[in-house]
Symmetry: C2
Subunit: 259 residues, 2 copies
């Protein structure tokens, strides 16, 4: 179970079967959890800004701004306007793809399986009510997809490393419409040759536990004694991932409520 | 000078200075040459289907369908509908990028250079007459851009390998609007720290030289004697890159016009 989300109740929950897609609205600061239910299952993921769907999650802006092809814990995901859209705040797997297009009807024709269900169609159906059509489904982030890059840049799809109940948690940095499909690809190792279900949940942006009030000013790191807090609330995992925010918060408390 | 294009006259030619973009229309079968004029210069490249600009060149569909992150000679480039848009028919460099987003105003703000010219703005200006705005500039192919992928997926921009007059030639497989910008990035090694000019030319789809008429039927490869053609027209480089097409052509002649 997620450190960050334990004991919280989702405000939205979706169960997604292979070949299906679901769209959920996520407000700034809310948390979006995408979880495998049986493991080895890829989640194709796209997102748009609420009320301004010309702005969308861009894998190329995310690769370029982070100078990496691999989505990682703590990374910011950017839009086509290079604005922050999400932060990856939890990740129990660490292996995902942002190189592959969604599977689509033409892909399955090429594989000799015309009429096969596809992520692109599933996402199009899920986003239809927002006026987002087939041609506007962006290049996705494929959570849990395991793509090896070989010596000369060749890509090789392998079984996901994700096991039962593995998940990622994203914090929305904008009000977004996110859509997820459970990839129905059963002709390649993409989903361990056996597509299974996914769960998507949205959690409220609950106030963080009150920050600890410092008994003493922080001392230079070279000579630092353990800093004792009067409020020993366990720090949520989120803050461990963003030490800058934590420092800022303590500073603010010290200046407004000197102890 | 290109083997394929030597002694041909372009039907359209554009000179592009760093920070500028140009759009050209290219009909099915026509050839588009993108050439450095001084070397070490990146050409950001996007394309749309004429009369149906919701279809555009997709780097993710191209990566996925070819199972590679590196554009290579002979490769087909696909649209967001996974339809063939171009074939790479000549390439004097062999090192290009299809991972990076266009540089844009936000990128230069991050680099401490607000107001710097950018590929995204240049392509937007070039495509304005086609009703294609800033948000719809797709993830580009960056011809001549040299991006190394390190052990953990980190991306490192290096100087282009392209020297003076290096080029790529694409054959259009649809009627397209192509747009090219000469990247103005002078704060990183992207353009060898010194952006320079590009040339873009479109060549007509001229008939290929008549196929050689075979003096004898092809013999099995194990015992093949040199095949002598009565018409010793040099084969254009194009056919060397697509031996299947060449074989098909000879077979067709043999069956329709037995010698």
């Amino acid at each position: 179970m997620s450190d960050l989300l334990s004991e919280k109740t989702p405000i939205r929950a979706r169960h997604i079967r292979p070949g299906e897609g679901q769209a959920v609205e996520v407000k700034t600061g809310q948390l979006l959890q995408i979880q495998t239910l049986q493991g080895k299952q890829v989640a194709d993921f796209v997102a748009f800004t609420q009320g301004d769907t010309e702005e969308f999650l861009s894998t190329s802006a995310t690769r370029a701004t982070n100078a990496t092809i691999v989505p990682r814990l703590g990374m910011t995901l950017y839009s086509n306007r290079r604005q922050p859209m999400f932060e990856i705040v939890e990740d129990t797997v660490g292996r995902h793809d942002m190189l592959y297009a969604c599977c689509d009807p033409v892909r399955y024709e090429m594989l000799g399986a015309p009429g096969h269900a596809s992520c692109r169609q599933a996402l199009t159906e899920a986003l239809g009510t927002y006026g987002i059509g087939y041609d506007r489904i962006p290049s996705p982030i494929n959570w849990f997809m395991n793509v090896a890059i070989l010596q000369r840049g060749e890509l090789e799809i392998r079984e996901p490393l994700a096991e039962k109940d593995d998940y990622v948690v994203l914090r929305a940095l904008k009000d977004v419409i996110a859509a997820v499909s459970a990839c129905p690809q059963d002709l390649t190792p993409t989903n361990g040759s056996n597509p299974t279900d996914l769960s998507v949940r949205v959690y409220r942006d609950e106030p963080l536990p009150p920050p600890p009030v410092m008994e003493q000013q922080p001392v230079p790191i070279e000579t630092a004694a353990p800093v004792v807090a009067t409020n020993p609330t366990p720090r949520p995992a989120l803050l461990q991932a963003t030490p800058e925010a934590s420092v800022f918060r303590i500073t603010q408390v010290n200046s407004e409520e000197p102890s």
